[in-house]
């Protein structure tokens, strides 16, 4: 994401926080296709994804005032809302006990200097694909399945035919390796 696009989205969100409907429309135009793709990736069902997308934008309208303080880049905030709402719905579908993917971190005010964290985030994103490629294929696939398809440890264990604790242990180590790689 370019700096220009980032600041454009930030300014739209700050206007949405003031109740600016035109800014909300413009934010929808600029981001809804991407957020819809996130909902579809997790839910794999068009009507449910569309319904979830509506909930996501209602949450964006209602939560925009708290965005500025959380220190997340605008697309991360939007994608996180879309992903978490989709996973809520996915877990409700399977009647599994709700395991909260957390919006809470986005609600906590951050003392970080935003420009610096934005630069770091942009660098880490550029490294992400390369670093995922350095993991073994099943591990990289597991990280993608968890993030993009809402897999739980139980889902991963079933797919890999391994005990949950084994899967948990190797995914945890994979996540650490990924972080070491992207923050080098």
């Amino acid at each position: 994401m370019t700096d220009a696009r980032r600041s454009h989205l930030e300014s739209l969100i700050s206007r949405v926080a003031l109740g600016d409907r035109a800014a909300f429309d413009a934010l929808y135009d600029a981001t809804s296709a991407k957020l819809h793709a996130v909902c579809l990736s997790v839910l794999k069902d068009r009507p449910e994804a569309e319904e979830t997308l509506q909930e996501v934008y209602i949450r964006i309208w209602q939560g925009a005032a708290r965005y500025a303080a959380n220190g997340l880049s605008p697309m991360t905030w939007l994608i996180t809302i879309a992903r978490n709402r989709s996973i809520d719905r996915l877990r409700a579908r399977s009647a599994r006990p709700p395991t909260a993917p957390e919006d809470a971190a986005a609600q906590v005010a951050s003392g970080d200097p935003t420009p610096e964290s934005a630069t770091i985030a942009a660098q880490e994103r550029r490294m992400l694909d390369e670093c995922l490629a350095q993991l073994a294929a099943p591990q990289a696939g597991a990280v993608r399945a968890v993030y993009l398809e809402g897999f739980s440890y139980a889902d991963l264990a079933e797919r890999e035919g391994l005990p949950i604790n084994t899967v948990r242990s190797w995914l945890r180590r994979s996540l650490l390796r990924l972080k070491d790689c992207v923050t080098q």
Partner: protein, 240 residues
């Protein structure tokens, strides 16, 4: 770090932050981690760090445009637009009984219908420049039974099926192919009647390099947002 050495406390915290960001925690562990967010700024920063870096995975997804009705539904749910033909709860009861009321009622219906039919109309932020470039495309199936027409003015897109509806249980899905090697972007499912209308999002710029395609998908469109069926019609944009 080998698979056998236990994680250090710092590593354990880092992974816990990742698991919270990913939604992998359950029950009491999840609750404790959420509670820690407001008490431990370092931990909250680690969770945000994971949200930032993992969001890169979603940035790689092919965008899928939502149907125009989704935006209309959001506007209605937020009270930014009235549902079609809804009563106005703020109107005084006797007011609409006179002839002026009938006229106003008709106007209100006309306005609502106009709004409903033009959900993609550019808002005040995106005024249509006079003389905005206009493109069209005529999509034909191999047997020429399937015909669809697209017209793009500025960022306003209209696509209508003229003949050759999808068979029972199937739908034609509309795709935007930005260039020779670009990943197609779904523009949604072709309505059997009437036209679909939308505003192009940022990053989708009309040009003679762009092609529109229809693919054969299960009813309601590809469940994943990625094309699954064969392309039944394709055409490039022509500048008018």
């Amino acid at each position: 770090m080998t698979p056998d050495t236990p994680l250090t406390p710092a590593e354990d915290d880092e992974v816990l932050a990742a698991e919270l960001a990913l939604g992998l925690l359950d029950g009491a562990v999840a609750e404790a981690a959420v509670a820690r967010l407001s008490q431990d700024p370092g931990f909250a920063r680690a969770v945000r760090g994971w949200q930032e870096r993992l969001a890169g995975l979603a940035e790689g997804l092919t965008p899928v445009m939502a149907p125009a009705r989704a935006r209309q539904a959001i506007r209605e749910r937020l009270g930014h637009a009235r549902p079609p033909l809804a009563n106005d709860p703020t109107a005084r009861p006797a007011w609409w009984r006179g002839p002026a009321g009938w006229l106003a009622g008709l106007l209100a219906v006309a306005a609502t219908v106009a709004l409903l039919w033009q959900p993609g109309q550019p808002g005040p932020e995106a005024p249509m420049a006079p003389g905005a470039p206009v493109y069209q495309a005529q999509l034909s199936g191999a047997d020429a039974v399937l015909q669809a027409a697209a017209r793009i003015e500025g960022r306003d897109v209209r696509i209508a099926l003229e003949s050759g509806a999808a068979p029972e249980g199937r739908d034609w899905e509309v795709w935007w192919i930005g260039s020779e090697d670009a990943t197609p972007v779904s523009m949604g499912v072709m309505p059997r009647d009437g036209e679909m209308r939308m505003t192009l999002p940022e990053g989708m710029e009309p040009s003679p390099l762009v092609r529109l395609a229809l693919s054969d998908e299960p009813a309601g469109g590809s469940p994943t947002g990625q094309a699954t069926g064969p392309v039944v019609a394709i055409a490039g944009l022509t500048a008018l």
